[in-house]
Point group: C2
Chain length 162, copies 2
């Protein structure tokens, strides 16, 4: 995207110029996977067939999985995304938990509260889906960002890489 055009925009216009919506198959050509690669250095481009296959896997989860994207209407590129999946449990009276994953805002589109809008969209979705809580893992550097979104630090994340 063109950072100069972004600079000329007024803040209040962002809802119209940068609307949030569900991921669509056509977003592959709009840089969705490129955007994710800003999140994980090990990300690699996907073939169109692999993209469609993964899209179908996730669509089969129905309302229990949502990927939201923000398309810049000027550049036609995906500049922010995040996802939430709903985990169905036996505890808490067969309760549900929302897991937020893979929130990223394009480096050129930062400073416009897009991240907060994405996180709010996902938390609202989890709440409407009947989750009793929504959780996510992040680096310590992102704690204050998520605190602004209403989250509190609770536990630690442990990882085992294969």
């Amino acid at each position: 995207m063109d950072g100069r055009s972004a600079a000329t925009r007024v803040d209040g216009d962002d809802d119209e110029l940068l609307p949030l919506r569900r991921l669509e198959i056509s977003d592959h050509a709009k840089g969705f996977v490129d955007l994710l690669s800003q999140l994980s250095p090990s990300s690699t481009p996907l073939s169109d067939a692999d993209f469609r296959a993964r899209f179908a896997d996730l669509a089969a989860l129905g309302d229990d999985h949502l990927i939201v994207v923000c398309e810049d209407r000027v550049s036609g590129r995906i500049v922010a995304t995040g996802c939430v999946f709903v985990e169905r449990k036996f505890l808490r009276g067969a309760g549900k938990v929302g897991h937020i994953e893979d929130v990223v805002v394009d480096a050129s589109a930062r400073g416009r509260h897009l991240g907060q809008r994405v996180v709010r969209y996902l938390t609202d979705y989890a709440k409407a889906a009947g989750c009793y809580k929504v959780i996510l893992d992040c680096s310590i550097e992102l704690r204050s960002f998520y605190e602004k979104c209403g989250f509190k630090e609770k536990d630690i994340q442990m990882a085992l890489y294969f």
Copy 2:
């Protein structure tokens, strides 16, 4: 796929008296939900219909969701459990991540390495399912336990309760 074969390797007599296997509907009557209530004070008993409904929800996820239980053959009670679900991503070349949740060992059965056996079973399962990593959230007090299971502290968990 079958992750069970991985768990049958484990040492000692406990293998026979305390075998690990997938959750079955009949485990409701063997105290499975009671065991989970040791994990979350807000857990409540489930009716048989609610248990079956949740069981069916999870069975529909196929190999992407596994609940393992340990039934004490002497008492006929479920004394340990844990679950893992496989998240399918677009990043890392359409990679997969295993999420471990709800690991608990009955207070009366601790000190017999059941927790480690459960975690090993779940991590073996995630690896065999093609995950590039397996992650979990826990309190700081459990860090050394999970380090013994091969995990490393990585990030922080943030939570928002509704």
